[in-house]
């Protein structure tokens, strides 16, 4: 198990390095020279040449990639063109807001989705099951940006129940400010998780060991929640790990609509202001979060269900 975890972490690091290199190549391969893309349209040729030399853009591509990866690994992501602070510092100030938003969204998605899925599987083909099915399909398909905007219009502007802007100070205020964005990011996943848990629960409930447990006369509730759920929930953990990626995308909208100072809002503002070092840094931060989440999901899965580990090797 320990070896598996180590290998999994090594693989995660490799994927991350590859992603950093790819990102660098894409940026460099863009039409127009990178110096003007990074400096904006007002830069003179002399400034551009100095900038290109300073960044080592005249070197061969593999050398450039190695240098870039090296500087990223040593924590140097460049300087914020606007505030003149190191990009790492800016990222560190914004990251907690995005991480807490994603965590809250995950709690909502799993906390509502898993029980709903279980209940639907136990009462298969009932009215309740069909209603959950319809709800899941509908929630999955509505664009997250619309859920965020409509949620804000309804619960903040019209009803005045929840704050519309910012992240709040102090624990109670922060949680209060977190509700709407987290629901906007997580709600689409409630239905998805419910569907997934329902399908795998139905499969597990027809397994031999469950029939055995029934034959021993165990109570149905105990069978479902003690024995079946543990196996049935394993695919959900993987999906939630991958889901963090999609949630990062939705978090961009939630942060813009609710003016939360997270990574997504930082990235958006940096794009508008052509603050390229910050954009790249924010993309790297999001990528790191994503790789960490998928790695963690696989490790968790191996811990929950040892069969999973073997099937992936």
């Amino acid at each position: 198990m320990f070896g598996y975890i180590l290998r999994r972490i090594a693989l995660g690091c490799a994927v991350l390095l590859l992603a950093i290199s790819t990102l660098y190549v894409i940026v460099q391969a863009a039409p127009g020279d990178p110096a003007s893309a990074m400096l904006g349209p007002k830069a003179t040729p002399a400034i551009k040449a100095a900038f290109a030399e300073k960044l080592g853009l005249d070197q061969p591509m593999p050398v450039q990639i190695a240098r870039y990866v090296g500087s990223v690994l040593s924590g140097d992501l460049g300087t914020d063109l606007r505030s003149r602070r190191p990009v790492t510092e800016v990222l560190a100030a914004h990251a907690p807001y995005t991480v807490e938003l994603i965590l809250a969204a995950l709690v909502i998605a799993a906390g509502l989705g898993i029980p709903l899925g279980c209940a639907a599987a136990v009462r298969r083909n009932s009215f309740f099951d069909r209603a959950i099915g319809l709800l899941s399909v509908s929630l999955i398909s509505v664009p997250p940006v619309i859920i965020a905007i409509y949620g804000m219009l309804l619960f903040s502007a019209a009803l005045g129940w929840l704050p519309a802007i910012g992240a709040g100070e102090g624990l109670a205020e922060r949680l209060h400010h977190l509700i709407l964005p987290a629901v906007a990011v997580g709600i689409g996943w409630v239905g998805y998780i419910a569907r997934l848990v329902r399908a795998s629960m139905i499969e597990v409930l027809s397994a031999n060991y469950i029939r055995n447990a029934r034959a021993f006369g165990l109570a149905e509730g105990r069978i479902v929640y003690r024995y079946a759920l543990r196996t049935a929930v394993a695919p959900t953990v993987t999906v939630l790990g991958v889901g963090v990626g999609y949630m990062l995308g939705s978090a961009v909208f939630a942060e813009i609509v609710f003016a939360r100072p997270g990574i997504g809002k930082l990235m958006y503002d940096a794009v508008i202001l052509r603050n390229y070092p910050v954009t790249l840094g924010a993309v790297l931060a999001a990528t790191t979060l994503l790789v960490a989440a998928t790695t963690l999901a696989d490790i968790l899965n191996a811990l929950i269900d040892p069969r999973f580990k073997e099937s992936r090797e």
């Binding site: 398909s141 990062l248 958006y268 794009v271 994503l290 998928t294």
Partner: protein, 167 residues
């Protein structure tokens, strides 16, 4: 796993990273959506073709001495393309959503061209004055995504009950 990471990479974040370099616009939007989908479709097609290749009719064709290219193009392809068509129809709402999001962020469709995502963006700028612009911009998006989702589900149920929604 590496593949899953690529697949899960949020197209929105990729759009924010790459869109401004290429200047945004319809072409960039299409390029992004295509580039992020190709690997997934390729994987589905691969497993579909592999499944068909071991079918008895393929063996029969081979025994009759038919050329490899002809077997693949004339016989395997029409039989293997089904899952792709269903997935494509189920992906329509995902593309509509992606367009809306990317244009909302200002790196997708640009004025004077227009789109529902751009309507949302423009409406959101005036949300402090009147909510009706974003409400009106959002309704067709909700109706279209819901409609295509139900269509995709129905197509899947009709043609291939075994194909589950991807995870």
């Amino acid at each position: 796993m590496g593949f899953d990471t690529v697949r899960a990479y949020p197209v929105i974040i990729l759009a924010l990273a790459i869109g401004p370099i290429f200047g945004g616009g319809m072409g960039v939007l299409l390029g992004l959506l295509i580039a992020t989908s190709v690997p997934y479709y390729a994987r589905v097609m691969r497993s579909s073709v592999i499944a068909q290749s071991s079918a008895e009719y393929v063996e029969a064709l081979r025994a009759m001495g038919m050329g490899r290219a002809r077997i693949v193009l004339r016989h395997i392809l029409p039989n293997a393309i089904g899952p792709i068509l269903i997935i494509a129809s189920m992906d329509i709402p995902a593309y509509i959503t992606a367009e809306a999001g990317i244009s909302f962020l200002g790196v997708g469709v640009k004025a004077p061209a227009t789109s529902w995502g751009l309507m949302l963006d423009q409406g959101f700028r005036y949300v402090g004055h009147t909510p009706w612009l974003v409400i009106a911009g959002g309704l067709p998006l909700i109706l279209a995504t819901l409609g295509f989702t139900f269509l995709g589900e129905a197509l899947r149920d009709a043609f291939d009950p075994k194909l589950r929604r991807r995870g």
